[in-house]
């Protein structure tokens, strides 16, 4: 099982911990794309952490659209801990999407867009 090496994984105890400001900070820091990987809906150990994350991701996508970054650079996926294969698939899927979109306008503006990278919160 392999997934693209340009992804940096940031571990959180639950996607419910991922706040709006964390996602925006990733883009400010130059991430070309971010995907949040939470547990399956209905299977959250903390009952609804992944549902909170879903709402926050939706909100940040709207913000990214308004500030010219593009909400399609952010996505949320729901996988179980046993779905390693699916994780590799979504990582590939997201990487392809971001590569198609090209470097983030933030990195282009800062002149640091030599090599596209992705970020993932899991």
């Amino acid at each position: 099982m392999q997934y693209p090496t340009n992804i940096r994984i940031i571990k959180v105890p639950c996607t419910g911990k991922v706040d709006v400001i964390h996602l925006l900070t990733a883009f400010e820091a130059g991430a070309d794309g971010v995907f949040v990987v939470g547990c399956m809906e209905g299977d959250c150990h903390y009952v609804e952490g992944n549902l909170f994350a879903k709402k926050r991701v939706k909100r940040v996508k709207a913000i990214l659209d308004k500030v010219g970054i593009g909400g399609q650079r952010l996505e949320m996926y729901n996988l179980s801990a046993g779905m390693g294969g699916r994780f590799a698939e979504v990582a590939q899927e997201m990487t392809e999407r971001i590569q198609e979109l090209g470097p983030s306008p933030i990195r282009i503006a800062k002149g640091t867009a030599a090599r596209p990278t992705g970020e993932v919160a899991a």
């Binding site: 925006l24 990214l64 933030i106």
Partner: protein, 222 residues
């Protein structure tokens, strides 16, 4: 408490798009409770504006802070040493905070970052509803603790009107009829006899009809 909601981001962007240094000023009071204008929201708005400026290729600095209360000069004073570093301040306090900040720093441009909506309660997280219109002379003792000024769409003192149907107001089937609520509550309290004596016309001079209002309490003045 005062309830507000964030202004649409594009409106804020329009206000600040040509500036070079912007301060987002949150307020730790009411607007923090309704999650519209506190320290957290200041951080999010500042980050969003920085992303906007950067992708536009504009060199602009956006900082954020949050004051204990913007409706108090002692706290607004905390900005004294740094406010001149900025072209403008986007205050995400309620309208009182925005105005007091502008009053305190007369040469500074101050923009509102939230829409101040009403005085209300938190029904549940993210859901707020109006309870008081600050009419200046409280009649809750006569109406079973439910305010006809705030809860009746017509602000009627003797209701309900003909637009009340199955406990709902004619303006919207989701809005409870204020007077139905009052009736039910007075019934529970065994005070339905209150309906036998109409409420006298109200003196609206204590409301907005008397112009901008002021309270002076000499006994606590320093």
């Amino acid at each position: 408490m005062i309830k507000a909601k964030e202004k649409p981001l594009n409106e804020v962007i329009d206000m600040v798009k040509d500036l070079k240094k912007v301060l987002i000023a949150g307020c730790d009071g009411c607007v923090t409770v309704c999650e519209a204008g506190g320290a957290k929201e200041a951080k999010v708005l500042a980050a969003a504006l920085r992303l906007f400026f950067t992708q536009e290729g504009k060199k602009a600095e956006v900082d954020e802070t949050s004051l204990t209360r913007q409706c108090n000069k002692d706290y607004l004073q905390e900005l004294q040493d740094r406010i001149d570093n900025y072209d403008a301040v986007v205050s995400i306090a309620c309208g009182c905070g925005v105005q007091f900040l502008a009053e305190m720093y007369p040469t500074k441009i101050v923009y509102p970052g939230v829409d101040t909506c009403f005085m209300g309660v938190t029904d549940e997280r993210g859901v707020y509803s109006e309870r008081c219109q600050a009419c200046g002379r409280c009649i809750l003792a006569e109406t079973g603790g439910i305010c006809p000024i705030a809860r009746c769409s017509k602000r009627m003192l003797n209701g309900p009107c003909g637009g009340s149907e199955r406990g709902k107001c004619e303006i919207n089937p989701d809005v409870p009829c204020g007077w139905e609520l009052i009736y039910e509550r007075l019934k529970t309290l065994g005070q339905l006899d209150r309906f036998e004596n109409p409420v006298a016309p109200k003196d609206w001079l204590t409301s907005r009809d008397g112009g901008p209002r002021k309270i002076v309490r000499e006994e606590i003045q320093i």
